[in-house]
């Protein structure tokens, strides 16, 4: 690069940003970490001390263990289903030569910016007992009694898959950069059938993008709050809803903080595992 205009001091330009983040991000996060080791003394009272009582509560109470397991299960299920649904769409968007490609890409990503509350409401209408899905099923004579999807784990999964689909498409289309038509044509000219071509060429080349999408959606769905609360209808309990309840209704801040740390640890484990997987996949793909 040529010599460019140099502002006086780089760090001077960073002062406003760093100040805001230290005050409204780093400090609160550290404060949560500290809060988890305080003691709750009922009625919203908190004793400043150093105890692991809240963690003991979380890890000995079967209820919280079940909530943590529901959260992880939700994350795994939603991320796998989302990536399976996003895969053909991403592949199509990367490969298409249609002149509507730009428009189709926007149509796939735009829902990401639509309020998640509004979209969850849409799913309440679709999945409700008198909703779209049940009207259609009844109209086709497939069922007499409404299929229970709202207020259920399955309903939350369906809604979250739709809500996180644009994120997965965005991550996957940018991760599919290595995909090259000529490689597939070469495989075809060497006599590889459609399935062999997909398994031996397309899939390995797109695997890094798939992993990025999986991680992103997993991380987003274990921290989802609005959709489990609204579609779950008070019957699906995840770490996020428990954190909110403890913080605002029970006023048990140490427990809310401890649950947050559990969520952050799940998050960290996921990032580490996917990091290792990604490296193995990279080696495997480039080793061929």
């Amino acid at each position: 690069m040529t010599r460019t205009w140099r502002p006086p001091v780089a760090w001077g330009l960073l002062v406003p940003g760093l100040a805001v983040l230290l005050f409204a991000y780093a400090a609160p996060m550290l404060w949560v970490l500290r809060m988890a080791f305080n003691r709750f003394i009922g009625g919203g009272g908190i004793e400043i001390t150093f105890t692991v009582d809240s963690f003991a509560d979380v890890f000995t109470d079967p209820y919280y263990l079940r909530v943590a397991w529901t959260t992880v299960k939700l994350g795994l299920l939603v991320s796998v289903v989302t990536v399976i649904v996003a895969y053909p769409l991403s592949l199509f968007l990367v490969r298409t030569t249609s002149r509507f490609r730009g428009l189709l890409t926007i149509l796939a990503i735009a829902p990401m910016l639509v309020s998640s509350v509004a979209r969850t409401y849409g799913w309440m209408v679709v999945l409700g007992n008198q909703g779209l899905l049940n009207s259609v099923l009844k109209g086709l004579g497939l069922t007499d009694t409404p299929v229970q999807l709202a207020n259920q784990f399955s309903g939350v999964v369906i809604a979250l898959v739709q809500i996180f689909l644009p994120y997965a498409v965005l991550a996957m289309t940018s991760g599919f950069g290595r995909l090259d038509d000529t490689l597939e044509q070469a495989a075809a000219s060497l006599g590889a059938g459609r399935i062999t071509r997909f398994l031996r060429v397309t899939l390995p080349l797109t695997l890094p993008g798939v992993l990025t999408g999986l991680l992103l959606v997993f991380v987003l769905s274990i921290s989802a709050y609005v959709t489990p609360r609204l579609i779950g209808g008070g019957r699906v309990f995840v770490l996020a809803s428990e954190i909110y309840d403890q913080a605002t209704n029970q006023l048990n801040w140490p427990l809310a903080a401890a649950l947050s740390l559990v969520l952050v640890v799940v998050f960290g484990v996921a990032v580490t595992v996917f990091g290792l997987l990604q490296r193995r996949v990279e080696r495997w793909v480039s080793g061929r």
Binding site: L18, V114, S115, S116, A118, G122, V219
Partner: protein, 269 residues
């Protein structure tokens, strides 16, 4: 070769992709249909046609106060975010200094923290400081959430524009401020516009962090909507949702025209 198999494969792929698009847009379209319904509770198909729900939206006091709060928060958030993000992006793209990568990672890291954890963290620190349920507290929280997006779009713009204009201005004796104001800023306008629209939208639609910081004085619109959905999810809620959706789609178009949607939202390039 086997053209029939090829054609079958192409058509099955097209059908599959179409179905995925339907799935993606179904809840959004359904909300629009319900919003013009006359029935007062959640059901599909609609029972009749009426635009009354839209009138109800504008005559429901909670919706209007929520709207005003959200607009105030989003406006302040956008202005502060832009100022902070422009400064930071200039440092990242026009200067090389030790710790640049670390500082950049720090400023964009709020994107990685679950909003539910950040919301709790802000509640725990802001309530002893009497900052919860205040505009100051909510705006600060939203700036943290919007900064990663604005830094992304403005940095993309800054690193793609030609720097020779800036060099020329400097050589001709323009001060750093004049160079920035007269040369750099006009060039990076697309990034600034995209960053502004995204910040406004992220702040305007934010529900989770706001839920922790909202109170008797200030209840942003998404929080009001969330409360309403649990108790009475009638057509006026659908009408409000449609208005929010239309607002988002307009924002999408603005970002797409300014900088490109994919480029603006991709955090790792």
């Amino acid at each position: 070769m086997n053209t029939l198999a090829d054609r079958a494969a192409r058509w099955s792929q097209r059908t599959l992709v179409t179905l995925i698009y339907v799935f993606l847009w179904l809840p959004i379209l359904v909300v629009a249909v319900v919003s013009i319904d006359t029935s007062t509770f959640l059901r599909f198909p609609p029972q009749g046609f009426s635009l009354d729900p839209y009138r109800t939206v504008f005559s429901t006091p909670e919706f209007m106060t929520g709207l005003v709060s959200s607009l105030i928060i989003a406006a302040f958030t956008t202005v502060i975010t832009l100022a902070v993000a422009i400064c930071a992006s200039l440092a990242f793209t026009r200067q090389s200094f030790r710790g640049s990568g670390a500082a950049q990672a720090f400023l964009t890291s709020p994107l990685l923290v679950p909003n539910i954890v950040l919301g709790l963290a802000l509640l725990l620190l802001f309530s002893p400081l009497a900052l919860n349920d205040t505009y100051t507290g909510l705006v600060l929280a939203h700036v943290v959430l919007c900064l990663p997006y604005a830094i992304r779009t403005i940095s993309v713009s800054l690193s793609t524009v030609d720097v020779s204009g800036e060099d020329a201005a400097r050589v001709l004796g323009a001060s750093p401020w004049v160079t920035f104001r007269r040369v750099t800023l006009p060039l990076i306008r697309p990034g600034v516009i995209a960053g502004a629209v995204l910040s406004f939208l992220v702040s305007f639609d934010e529900a989770v962090v706001s839920l922790f910081l909202a109170g008797y004085n200030i209840t942003p619109l998404p929080v009001t909507l969330l409360d309403h959905l649990e108790t009475q999810a009638g057509p006026e809620v659908a009408a409000l949702s449609v208005l929010l959706i239309l607002f988002s789609l307009l924002a999408v178009l603005a970002v797409e025209r300014a900088l490109g949607l994919g480029r603006s939202l991709r955090t790792r390039s």
